[in-house]
Amino acid sequence: MKIVYTDNNATTKVADEVIEEMLPYLGELYGNPSSMHTFGDKVNKKLKQARLRVAGLINADPGEIIFTSCGTESDNAAIYSAINAYPEKKHIITSRVEHPAINNLYQHLQGEKGYDVTFVPVDKKGLLDLDLLYDSMSDNTAIVSIMWANNETGVIFPIEEIFKKANEKGILFHTDAVQATGKIPIDVKKTKVDMLSFSGHKIHAPKGIGVLYVKKGFKFSSFLVGGHQEEGRRGGTENTASIIGLGKACELAKENLPVMNTKVRELRDYLQARLLEKIPGSSVNGALDARLPNTLSIGFDAVEGESILLLLDREGICASSGSACTSGSLDPSHVLMAMEVPFKSAHGSIRFSLSHYNTKEEMDHIVSTLVPAIQKLRDMSPFWKDGEMI
């Protein structure tokens, strides 16, 4: 069965060009880049090129890039570094819709380390309550950390504006840009955030490689203490092949940025329009005009997400849901709940996240599979009768 992969906010296919770039460094070029011989230095030279390419995607200086093992490590390193830099400040500001990678860290800091954490709410469209965010900033605030774009709805936050407000008050600012990177332009010379995290496997590099951008001048403290690697900012022998792969992926992502905002956006809009037209009782979650170009979160009244996903899965379609039943928890996703998406559609919300590998034929396949699947589930739902919610 042919796989239709529309779960790119979860992870992405490793690009063929990336694999090709990596292979020699998984094979014959296995040297340690720190070694004092030409064999190892060959790898070191390639790492430098990769660092340049990665920096190039977000317009950073190469020295501002720290390679980590994943987005979660980058997030943790950023937050711990901030609270180490300002040990006397015991307040953190974030949003209610952050990824668990960082949200659970705040729960930990709040519960066990005595931090006061402000979780800024969002409105029904998933947009931040900026007044509350700005009013919460104080001399006691160690860091403001707001995701650049939300993983479930694709809603984009006004990072430049929030950074400016934090900066005016002398507060550090970090953004989890795991979903935004490679999908919308990011320029850290223009949006001068202090720290920014992203992850390789969301942009067609392999899993197990992340990036933390740290603005020059910030007194960063290591999260993983060890050797001299990454200029002493992150111990551990470099994941050479993955860093090299990520370098290529960043180069490709930069080239593909226009495609993401034309072809991919058109495919997403096409899928969205067809589903809204063909399936009554369906609604899009999140602000339509402030979304990542590849993401569609759509709720179907009176049906449940896991059931929808399993019916899609039978036709080779990969998507994900904000439904409780897929995660083992019982409440729908914290993002949809924070947005006060009504239960009638929150439980039946599905996220399609596209990449430039998707085609219009695939979108048609999704529509022709989903229409009868929703009908089948509604035919057995006690909350649906004669074409409407009861």
């Binding site: 019982l330 057995m380 739902s381």
Partner: protein, 187 residues
């Protein structure tokens, strides 16, 4: 992805006895839209209290649909007294087992059946006895005690898997822990 048995997959993809039942004389409803799963069970019971037909309408995940479908297959032809003895384990066993975190789906089947039988007999199920512990899913201490004893549950996660209690806002988790402790203390 859940490790569902072939029986669960089959009953989800090809559910038996779906729909409203014309001439039903017993109906049991449980769950709600907010909870994420709900089951409406229809029975046609003859003068000898034998279940001549059973159908269901379910909103929920694959195991909720499969549990409902299995339930209707199990009870068809039984007398109400026989059906009253059906437990969630019978439903789960019929399906070759359910993942632990999905056991509440089989509990939902048992609960709808109890309500349908009470509905037929004209017994009103009064407000649940005991003290309300989980407000999100309306679970009482007596229900938790019963589930802990019957299924040998040990942790709050076990209780959530079986009864959903504690799986919403989580404010009652400490209280659930106390209830488990009290059962343990009494042996």
């Amino acid at each position: 992805m859940w490790d569902y048995t072939d029986q669960v997959k089959d009953h989800f993809l090809n559910p038996r006895n779906v729909g409203e039942l014309e001439g039903a004389n017993a109906i049991g409803e449980t769950g709600s839209l907010n909870c994420g799963d709900a089951l409406k069970l229809y029975l046609k019971v003859n003068e000898n209290e034998r279940i001549m037909d059973a159908t269901f309408m379910t909103f929920g995940c694959a195991s909720a649909v499969a549990s409902s479908s299995a339930l209707t297959e199990i009870i068809k032809g039984m007398t109400l007294d026989e059906a009253a003895k059906i437990t969630n384990d019978d439903i789960s066993d019929y399906l070759g087992g359910l993942p632990k975190a999905k056991m509440h789906c089989s509990v939902m089947g048992q609960s709808a059946l109890k309500k349908a039988i009470a509905n037929y007999r004209g017994v009103q199920i009064l407000e649940k006895p005991g003290e309300l512990v989980c407000e999100c899913f309306e679970v009482t201490d007596l229900e938790i005690i019963e589930a802990v004893k019957a299924n040998g549950l040990e942790t709050t996660e076990d209780v959530t898997d079986y009864l959903k209690a504690g799986g919403g806002c989580g404010q009652c988790l400490d209280r659930i822990e106390e209830v488990i402790e009290s059962v343990r203390a009494k042996g």
